[in-house]
Symmetry: none
C-alpha cells in the first residue's frame, strides 16, 4: 500500500477560501516518507475553521502549532509521541505505568474486550481489567491469565461495582464487545458519569459509540474523551450530533464533529485515520495492510487507553503544546497500522487480530524506541 | 499420494455411447501435473448426460465450457479460482471480504464449528460467527477470541435469533458439529428456509446432510447451495433422493445426484474429490495426505463458505462462464488438500486438523497468490 499524500500545517498554507473549507491547504507530496520507507503522518492546519473564524486566527493557531515544533514530517510527530512514553527505570512500582479498565464483553462478544485489554498490557500497561457480564467472564478469563476480569456489568449494582475500582484506574476503554442490550447500556451510562466525575480519561469505541449516538450529552464537552468511530459509526454520530451524515471531506467532517461535541477528540478510522480535537486535524497514513478482520479496532482502543494516560501524565513540556489526547491518538493509530503491516507481511490474507497483537512489542519498538 | 488420472473436457471427447454414461470421455494422463509437482484438477465433460440428452447437446455443452476457457490442466482451472479472490486494497471496510455464519455446535460437538469458523477467517473472511447451543457456546468461544459465538441454536426463538443476523451474513455453513437432536434439526430447517428466502448461499456438511437426506425438498432447486458429503453421507443422500445407493462411477453418481436435486452443487469428498453442478463434473486430485483425522471436512466447509461468497461477488466476467459455486468448490478442495499435504510433511501420522489450519495461509499463498 502506498502512503497517502502528505499534508503539512501552516507553513504550507496559502491564503484562500473554498467551498470545502479546506482553502489554505496545500499537499506536499513525499515530505513524510521517513520511517520504514512507507509511513506518513500528516498534520492539517486549522484552516478548516475558515468558515467560522477569521483567517488570521486560523493562521495564528496553525502557526502556533508550527512554532511549537517543526512539523515537516511524520518523524517529528512521532518524536512527540516518544516524549510521552514513560522512561524505563527500576525504581517503579506495579501499576505506575498504567492500570486500564475495559468496559465490555457480553453474550455474543468476548473476543473484543480481550483484544483491547491484552493490547493495553502489550503496549506497556501494568494491569488490565475487564468489566463484563457474568456469563462472558469465564470465557474472557480463559483467553489469558494476564487479565483481571470482573463479572459485574449486568448486575443490578454494576455502576457501584465499577465505581469502586475507578480510584485505581488511570483510563477506561468503553465499548469493545459491549453489545446493545438496554440494561448494559444503562449501566454504562452510569459508569461514564462516574468516570467523568473523577476526571478519568475515557476511550469510546464500538457499541460505546452507539450509546453516545443515542445520548451525545453523555460526553459533551468532556475533554478527556476520545471517540474512535469507523465509517459506519462516524456517520451515525454525525447524524446524531450534527443532523448530517458526515459527508464532505473526511478532514472537515471529523473537525466539525469534534467541535460540535465541545472538543472531544475524534479518531475516524479508515484508509487514512483522521484525528481532530476540534482545533487541529491530523491524518495518519502509516502503512498498514489491506486486511479488515474484526478486532483491529480493539487493539487500537486498548493501546489508546494506555497512551492517553501516558500523554496526560507527561505534561505540557513533553507534549510541546500539542493536545495530549491527539498525540496519544497518533501513537495508537501508528502502532495499530504498524502491527497490521508486520503481521500481514508474515501471514498475508490469513492474518487475524491475534497475529497483529503478537506484533505490538516489535512494532512499538520500531516506531517509538528504535 | 500420487495424483489421479487427468480427465479433460470436450476436446478429448469421442463420439460414442456406453452403459456407464461415460462415453465421450478420454483420460489424458499427465496433462495436469503442473503445480507442486503432484496436483491435478480435472474437468469431465457433460457427456454423463448421454442417457437423457442427445449427444450433440452434450457436446455443445461440453464445448461451450471448452470455448469459455481452455481446460488443458489444473493450472488453468486454478487461474479461474484466482480470478474470484478479491483484490487486496486499503480502501475496504471491515466485513467487505466476507461475513460468514456457521450453524452447528451442540452437546457432543464443539470442535467442528470452531474448525469451520476459524478456517473461514484464515482464508480471508473478515468476520466469522457461530450459532450453537447454549452450553456449547462458552467452549467454542474459549477456542478463539476471533469468533463471534451466539448461544441460540437450542432456544425457542432460534430461527428468529439467527434470522436477525442474516442481513449481515454473506454465506452460511450448515452442519459442522450439529448433531441429530430433533429440536436442533427443526430449528435448522427454519434457518435454511430463511437463508433461501434471502438468497444467501449455503454450504451444507455433516449432520446438515443428515437433515437434507430426511427432507431433500429443503434444498431442492436452490442453486446457491453446495453439499459436501463424504462416502457415507453421499450414499445416504443418493438413497434418499434417487432411491439408489450411489453406486456406479463416482463421477456419474455425483452428477446424477446434483441433477436430481435441481443443480444443487455436490462435492463428494474422497480419494479424489468429485464435484458437479449437474452440468459439469470436475475432479480434484490435488495432492493431500493419507491422514483422515476428524475436522478436515470442517476446514473444507469453512473455506468453501468464503469462496462461494467471493465467487458470486466476482461475477461472470471473472468466472469466465463457469459455475461460480463449482469454482469455489475447486478452490476449497484444492486448498484443503494442500493444507493436509503441508501439515503431513511436518507432522506425519500425528497430524491433526489444527496443524492443517495452521497451513491455510501458506497453502493459500502457494496455490492462489504465488
Amino acid at each position: 500500500m502506498a502512503a497517502g499524500p502528505v499534508w503539512v500545517a501552516a507553513g504550507a498554507c496559502r491564503r484562500g477560501k473554498s467551498d470545502t473549507g479546506l482553502a489554505g491547504m496545500a499537499p506536499l507530496a513525499g515530505a513524510g516518507a521517513v520511517l520504514a520507507g512507507a509511513a506518513a503522518v500528516a498534520l492539517l492546519s486549522a484552516a478548516l475553521v475558515l468558515r467560522e473564524l477569521p483567517l488570521d486566527a486560523v493562521l495564528q493557531r496553525a502557526f502556533s502549532l508550527h512554532k511549537a515544533h517543526s512539523i515537516k514530517d511524520m518523524e517529528n510527530t512521532l518524536q512527540l509521541v516518544r516524549n510521552i512514553i514513560p522512561p524505563q527505570t527500576s525504581k517503579k512500582h506495579k501499576g505506575q505505568d498504567g492500570r486500564i479498565g475495559v468496559i465490555g464483553g457480553c453474550q455474543e462478544y468476548t473476543g473484543a474486550p480481550y483484544f483491547a485489554a491484552i493490547s493495553a498490557l502489550k503496549v506497556g500497561a501494568d494491569l488490565s481489567h475487564v468489566f463484563c457480564t457474568r456469563e462472558a467472564a469465564p470465557v474472557i478469563k480463559s483467553y489469558s491469565p494476564e487479565l483481571i476480569v470482573h463479572p459485574v456489568l449486568d448486575s443490578p449494582g454494576a455502576v457501584h461495582d465499577v465505581e469502586e475500582w475507578l480510584p485505581r484506574l488511570h483510563a477506561l476503554v468503553v465499548g469493545p464487545g459491549l453489545g446493545r442490550d438496554d440494561t448494559l447500556l444503562e449501566n454504562v451510562k452510569g459508569i461514564l458519569e462516574a468516570a467523568k466525575a473523577r476526571d478519568i480519561p475515557v476511550v469510546i469505541d464500538a457499541d460505546g459509540l452507539w450509546l453516545i449516538a443515542q445520548h451525545p450529552a453523555l460526553i459533551q464537552g468532556y475533554r478527556k474523551a476520545v471517540l474512535t468511530p469507523n465509517h459506519v459509526e462516524f456517520s451515525r454520530l454525525s447524524e446524531a450530533v450534527l443532523r448530517e451524515p458526515g459527508n464532505g471531506s473526511d478532514r472537515e467532517a471529523v473537525w466539525r464533529l469534534s467541535q460540535a461535541l465541545g472538543n472531544v477528540t475524534v479518531v475516524r478510522k479508515g484508509e487514512q485515520d483522521v484525528l481532530s480535537d476540534g482545533e487541529q486535524v491530523l491524518e495518519c497514513a502509516q502503512e498498514g495492510s489491506s486486511r479488515r478482520c474484526g478486532g483491529q479496532g480493539d487493539l487500537l482502543s486498548g493501546a489508546l487507553g494506555v497512551l492517553v494516560h501516558w500523554a496526560l501524565l507527561a505534561g505540557p513540556e513533553k507534549t510541546n503544546g500539542c493536545s495530549p489526547l491527539l498525540l496519544a491518538a497518533v501513537g495508537a493509530c501508528s502502532l495499530t497500522r504498524q502491527c497490521s503491516h508486520q503481521a500481514f507481511q508474515k501471514h498475508g490474507r490469513s492474518t487475524t487480530t491475534t497475529d497483529m497483537i503478537a506484533e505490538v512489542g516489535p512494532a512499538f519498538h520500531r516506531l517509538f524506541e528504535a
